[in-house]
């Protein structure tokens, strides 16, 4: 690029979410994230985190991409790019999956649901435009990709989320974890259909609600009027997901790493393991058979000083990994982290050290999650 061309580039505009004014009214501190102004916190990350673990938190995740893939053979076509058994998904069931580059590197992680219309796919906000371009390039022309920009996405998470939501949207308590469906909300004379799944990113029971952007504020107000519900910012979303051992794309996963390294082998369905035939399947199935060269693991941290993303991990004098997410776990009451550690050093219980500001901090490979999941699984809950 010639230098003068650079000056002709327009500054990238930071976009507003449908609930932008609502967040500001609620006292949110707004930050830029994934190209949007987003609420990082309202009353404080620690309080919001604990509230969500004990009650119910409302998260605006409208920055995420909501895509609808339609057309005959959409599931089979998508299977060329993801390692999950998508064609076997029954209507109303969802699956966590990964968008794979040709070499098997992870381009994004996503939720894929078999909806009546087609495949409803929720992707990360920061890479949604790249995802859409990649899908358009690799999926056959007869598969339509609809970016549902006119919809907001709200997540209601926590042990009391079901009590609050079923008061506002009757019938949602019939869903189990990783199930989804359409539910009517509002006056019987003019009900609005909402697409609701029992899923989330906190490790708690909860729901994700796709709502027309025009109705998002009304729904958010109704939910926050429930005694169990408070609005929760991105800061607590990050500490909640870290305690739950859930990876954050762009940090704990990136295009250089394949799914087995990324501790997401569970997303490679049995049939796909046997048959292969997805992007990078040779590399990925090799890693499954022989073990990955490095792996994303949980790390407990000695003392009180957090270790953060980017800190190198050592076994003695040898660097064997790097921290990819680190912070303080409010429910754990101590610093926690995740990172990549080379084979031979990544078994649970292995004593390692992270380097922070020139000092060594003792860390230990730990079981994930740090805080047990409390999902409403079929056949498990009382």
């Amino acid at each position: 690029m010639r230098e003068e061309d650079e000056f002709e580039l327009e500054p990238i505009e930071i976009l507003e979410l449908p609930l932008d004014a609502w967040h500001r009214d609620k006292g949110a501190r707004m930050v830029e994230f994934a190209g949007y102004h987003m609420p990082i916190q309202y009353e404080g990350i620690m309080a919001e985190h604990i509230w969500t673990r004990e009650n119910a938190g409302l998260f605006d995740v409208s920055h995420m991409g909501q895509l609808m893939l339609t057309g005959d053979g959409a599931a089979e076509a998508l299977e060329a790019l993801v390692p999950g058994d998508i064609s076997a998904l029954k209507e109303g069931k969802m699956r966590y999956s990964l968008l794979l580059a040709e070499d098997g590197g992870v381009l994004d992680d996503m939720m894929i649901t078999a909806a009546p219309m087609g495949l409803y796919v929720v992707v990360n906000g920061a890479v949604k435009w790249d995802d859409m371009g990649y899908l358009r390039e690799y999926l056959p022309d007869e598969i339509t990709i609809n970016n549902m920009e006119d919809r907001a996405l709200l997540a209601l998470q926590g042990p009391k989320a079901v009590d609050a939501l079923k008061r506002v949207v009757p019938g949602v308590d019939a869903l189990y974890f990783m199930e989804a469906g359409s539910f009517f909300w509002g006056p019987k004379t003019d009900p609005e259909p909402l697409w609701i799944s029992r899923s989330g990113y906190t490790g708690e029971d909860g729901f994700e609600i796709s709502v027309p952007a025009t109705h998002a504020q009304k729904l958010a107000d109704q939910l926050c009027a429930q005694p169990e519900v408070k609005p929760i910012g991105l800061g607590a979303r990050d500490s909640l997901r870290l305690e739950a051992g859930l990876p954050l794309y762009g940090h704990d996963m990136n295009p250089e790493l394949e799914p087995v390294e990324a501790n997401a082998a569970f997303a490679i369905s049995k049939r796909r393991r046997a048959q292969g035939g997805f992007a990078g399947s040779e590399r990925i199935l090799e890693a499954l058979a022989n073990g990955p060269a490095r792996k994303l693991v949980g790390l407990s941290v000695d003392g009180k000083m957090p270790v953060r993303e980017g800190a190198p991990i050592f076994a003695g004098d040898m660097q064997v990994g790097v921290i990819t997410s680190g912070g303080f776990g409010p429910s754990v009451g101590a610093p926690i982290a995740m990172g990549y550690v080379d084979a031979g050093h990544n078994a649970v219980g292995t004593a390692l050290a992270a380097e922070v500001r020139g000092k060594r901090v003792s860390i230990t490979v730990a079981n994930l999650p740090f805080v047990p999941h409390h999902y409403h699984r079929k056949g498990v809950n009382a």
Binding site: I45, M46, G235, S239, K304, M305, R308, G327, P335
Partner: protein
């Protein structure tokens, strides 16, 4: 005793050639819940504007800079057990360290309370 402020949101209480340093009410509000503070050891020499301490919230680590040059004579041991003191009383019990100043004239470049308030109001 006179209190000065920096544009990086440190305060410094000066008494003769010694002083106490912490971060301001505004700074703690911006940082949010403090979970860890690392303070310099007695004997450490600090240079005006250089790294002096680290304060960590749930989300991120932030540097605390030395408002003036000098030698550390004491640091706040209470922060190790109760880093949230920086949130609850940033300009009192949540102080970070004390030092002897090596160049009192460096104080001339700092703000007084009124100037700092105007500075924060403009942010």
């Amino acid at each position: 005793m006179t209190r000065y402020f920096t544009e990086d949101h440190e305060w410094i209480d000066v008494d003769g050639d010694s002083a106490t340093v912490g971060i301001t009410q505004y700074a703690q509000g911006q940082l949010g819940d403090i979970v860890f503070a690392e303070v310099p050891a007695a004997g450490a020499t600090l240079k005006k504007g250089g790294d002096a301490a680290v304060v960590e919230s749930v989300k991120a680590a932030s540097d605390v800079y030395a408002p003036v040059s000098g030698t550390v004579i004491d640091s706040n041991a209470a922060l190790e057990g109760d880093p949230a003191l920086v949130n609850s009383d940033p300009e009192g019990e949540g102080w970070f360290f004390k030092l002897t100043l090596s160049d009192i004239s460096e104080l001339n470049s700092l703000m007084d309370a009124a100037a700092y308030k105007a500075f924060v109001d403009g942010l």
